[in-house]
Subunit: 152 residues, 2 copies
Amino acid sequence: MSEGARETSVDLIQRELTAFARRARAAAARLHPDLPLVSYTLLAHIHDRAGCSATDLAAHYLLDKSTVSRQLASLERLGLVERRPDPGDHRVQVLHPTQEGRRVLASTQASRQAAYEERLRDWSADDLARFAAYLVRYNAAVTSDPPKPPRR
Amino acid sequence: MSEGARETSVDLIQRELTAFARRARAAAARLHPDLPLVSYTLLAHIHDRAGCSATDLAAHYLLDKSTVSRQLASLERLGLVERRPDPGDHRVQVLHPTQEGRRVLASTQASRQAAYEERLRDWSADDLARFAAYLVRYNAAVTSDPPKPPRR
DNA sequence: ACAAACCGTTGTACTATACAACCGAGACCG
DNA sequence: CGGTCTCGGTTGTATAGTACAACGGTTTGT
């Protein structure tokens, strides 16, 4: 394979991921007008790691703590998460999904899953597995490599 | 491969793409603080298809025309695109990048490319090509199959 | 005991976006 | 022609998501 091919692939990956990102939010919003995308993501994380803190979420998703704080306020307003004081450290709040939160999450995940299933219907199991593996690998590289702004 | 494996892959793909989408904007913004970015995407499209109209952009990116209108206003304010009246139809505006627009675009593309190169440094050319192909296939499925229930 | 580090909230500002109301230009029908 | 319908684009308004900075309590290290 020539050197140019490598560059072309990188360029293609860049374009396609960008295209995907552009559409993702809007698509998610259309799919679930009730549970905003980001809230959904945070709720899922809280469910997976019940008892985590706001700071954990901020670190994991590279979000500002103020953003997380407001998202959590929103989720609490919706009755989907609970914030309990940590007995060991009065600064931190331990996060747990409520019963309703688990219910909404399950339903949201189901319909998201259905949408993806639909889109990926024609793919072979092998292709799905390989695509998934590539995405995991890519995202792992991104998270471990914090991008710095260039001086201009 | 079991049935469950297929589901697991779909779920993984969903999670990873979502994770990517969550980070993409922030990463782009960090990378290019100067070019209010998504504008970058539109600028690139205008460059590729010089002479296109705002409506074309809206259709292609599934954006509201008001959004495109404001983005274009911003790009024009920055001196990166020109809006010329279409001689054949006085309603439409024909879009062209300015000299400066082409310059900024080239520089932006270069540093984006560099960032992706960095991230994908360890990948083999074959893996890159396969990953790119999967992304293209996935995005093609999404665009050709717009699951929009709100049929007005 | 005091300062530094830390967790979370709040004030402010900005981008991106949608929807709806509108305006001016073409198109088309009678 | 003239009325109306459609189309491209702008503007008003609203919302989500986000960052940064300043702050108030809490813990920790010296």
